[in-house]
Amino acid sequence: MAINRRTFLKAAGLTTLAGVAGHAAMELLAPGALEAARPESVGRFPEELTAKRWAMLIDTKKFTTVQTYQRSIDACHVLHNVPHIPGDQEIKWLWTDSFKHVFPDQQHELVPDAIKNQPFLALCNHCDNPPCVRVCPTKATFKRDDGIVMMDMHRCIGCRYCMAGCPYGARSFNFWDPRPFIANIDPYYPTRMIGVVEKCTFCEDRLARGQIPACVEVSEGAMIFGDLDNQDSEVRRVLRERYSLRRKPSLGTKPHVFYLI
């Protein structure tokens, strides 16, 4: 059959329309099928913790060795089924690194040895101006109104643009199926599948159910979490009283993890 370009385009257009109309057609064919999404039937838990702008403080005077940090790292990684993969393909949400790597622009020869050799905790900074969000082609990475930079693992296509975009190395890519690398899988948090990027989410699913982030909970006061927009919050009070650093401020990403010095 001879088919000219015009006929082909018409057919292509129609099939596309049919695809677009799929969801609407569903409503016609199965009325009420989408009632699960009725706005009045879905909401938030009354105990949800809310903020205009979530932020985290890390007290580097209380956290001085890898051991002091380890409890928080373990709490996070166990809760979120973060696999333990040795080597350079490791998956990490919360980790420690040297002063030189965490604060490369605060370097000079006279930094005291104690600080030079101290490990610093690192995680996604939930930046106000996050390059990872800007470059993600699928909107799998997006910023919520309360400042949390979210990962929708369902939508991630594993292109790793966000990893190239993030100047803090806060994202990990699953080169393998992570399940064999998780010692005790917690059934109440999903694992990831191969080909998906992951990172810290400020425990947004815990906040939604009224709990503070797991790392903060076990940190014995060495981490503080709260609403930066609220003048009376603990985070604001402490930031008024103590000197703090942010990572790579010159990049303009406006990190919302603050290191108390």
Partner: protein, 128 residues
């Protein structure tokens, strides 16, 4: 046609192979598998009939609402509240704790493999 003796049988074999899935499934009537229903719970989140036909739509909506809109509390027509979570609600020990005898029986009979469980973990039977 030049070489018709080879081309025509070749085409026939090709057609046979391509249509194999259609004619090989002809005949056998579909039998709905027997499912083991939850013991502790009588009512589903929404009416059973509706869920049978549309559970995938509900799960899809729940997923987007929870992850994208941070809405995780579902109230059904009877006013009962549920955590919009596949593992914490649907697969909890109170409901479909046994994926094999509920979810899989239908999915296997229909030869579909939803990839939900590549990430979402099935809580083991009896464990809370």
């Amino acid at each position: 046609m030049y070489n018709a003796g080879k081309i025509i049988p070749g085409l026939l074999i090709f057609l046979g192979l391509v249509t194999f899935p259609f004619w090989s499934n002809l005949g056998g009537a579909y039998e709905a598998p027997e499912l083991v229903m939850p013991e502790a719970e009588e009512e589903c989140v929404l009416a059973g009939d509706w869920m049978r036909a549309n559970h995938m739509i509900l799960l899809d909506d729940w997923r987007d609402l929870a992850v994208r809109d941070n809405k995780r509390l579902f109230t059904n027509d009877a006013g009962k509240r549920f955590d919009m979570s596949l593992t914490k609600t649907c697969l909890s020990s109170q409901c479909h704790a046994n994926k094999d005898t509920f979810c899989d029986r239908c999915h296997d009979a229909l030869a579909i493999t939803p990839n939900c469980w590549d990430c979402h973990v099935v809580p083991t039977v009896g464990e809370e």
